[in-house]
Amino acid sequence: MGNSRDRLYRMAYAWTHDPQLADDLVQQSMCKAISNQKQLKDIGAVDAWLFRILSNCLKDYYRARREVLSSEELVVIDTRTPEQEAAELQLVNKVRKAVRKLPTTQCQVVTLVDLEGFTYATVAEIMEIPVGTVMSRLCRGRRALRESLINIRPEQQDKKSVSLQRIK
């Protein structure tokens, strides 16, 4: 695991899969953390506090871009070129592709639990949602990943590009 900057950046990258955007979100988060440092009452909760700020920065970003009608409903864009498709055969890219296809809120829960090892209670605090919602999002997210990565053979995968869409 990297240092604290790397941790925030890695999480932002896992949420966006865009290095520039991830970097911007981390820097913006740190600006907000400095401005709002008095809000941190419990020093032991600094991890959750910083990741909550990061999560809120992502929400603000989507709100500003008006890309998301509801982050719960978001399916992320896939505009791979043939060369990139070939690279997707590599395991890491294949997993990232599957994560990228998750709705943002499921992606956030899965990565907070799997990358940072946060407890469900901490993830609930970061995302400001009930623990039950964390569990159900995690369940749906992992199920989708399992179907993408384990149950479906490569030739069965949908090769069509997908664009931003509602899934309900």
Binding site: N3, A22, Q27, Q37, I43, M135, C139
Partner: protein
């Protein structure tokens, strides 16, 4: 119905995520010993968790167009945010002591007591993010008042850093306050235009012209963090 189906996915997740108490964990492990199906489900769940972890062990670093070069790639960003954490730590009192955040390669963000007493200084970094003229004016006014209120013989430094919409303050073709800025520069106030904001505007095709003597070599956050590490006081306008 298969005999392991009473174990829900939520329970399997809780097991692989270490959320179960020891008793419940033992019960599920015992069941998985007796049920190859359950054992297989458990393995798949673990595999997904491990795959996700593995996929983000190394992530691509951002490209920077201007500002400090990245060598090694993430050094600038790392020090920047580590600095921000340091500043946060300096600013937070805990049990009557001052602490700073220490960035380590493992574990949660940790806190260590600061050995030396933090020296009080009386320098200010003002941060302008708003493009509203009244906010820009307020920043300039604040700088002027800070300089005026310095005690006799006291050397007080004031700097103004502008980013986002606040950059308009320093754009020579936009700002309504070029004369006020010049008069403050004459009193040694330094103005910084955020290099990242300039980059973004230029990417959109906006040509950025800055008032003379504006420093554009840093991002706003870099400047703020550097100054706060030097114990300057920070004020966002």
């Amino acid at each position: 119905m298969k005999k392991d189906e009473h174990i829900s996915e939520e329970q399997l997740n809780a097991l692989v995520d270490g959320e179960l108490d020891p008793e419940e964990k033992s019960r599920m492990y015992s069941e998985s010993e007796l049920s190859p199906e359950l054992d297989q489900r458990l393995c798949r769940q673990r595999k997904i968790k491990e795959l996700v972890k593995h996929a983000y062990e190394e992530v691509p670093q951002p490209r920077r167009l201007t500002g400090a070069p990245l060598a090694p790639a993430s050094l600038f960003g790392r020090s920047l945010v580590a600095g921000a954490l340091l500043v946060l730590g300096l600013a937070i009192g805990f049990f009557g002591e001052r602490y700073l955040f220490e960035t380590r390669s493992n574990g949660p963000l940790s806190i260590a007591p600061v050995a030396a007493t933090v020296t009080e200084t009386d320098n200010y970094i003002l941060h302008v993010v708003s493009g509203e003229p009244e906010h820009m004016y307020a920043a300039l006014q604040e700088a002027r008042e800070l300089l005026d209120s310095a005690g006799e013989g006291q050397f007080r430094q004031v700097e103004i850093v502008a980013n986002e919409n606040g950059l308009d303050l320093l754009r020579s073709d936009v700002t309504p306050y070029a004369d006020e800025i010049a008069s403050l520069q004459a009193r040694d106030v330094v103005f910084y235009a955020c290099s990242r904001t300039i980059e973004r505007l230029e990417e959109k095709g906006v040509k950025v012209h800055l008032v003379p003597e504006t420093d554009q070599n840093y991002t706003a956050l870099d400047r703020v963090v550097t100054r706060m590490k030097d114990d300057w006081k920070y004020k966002k306008i």
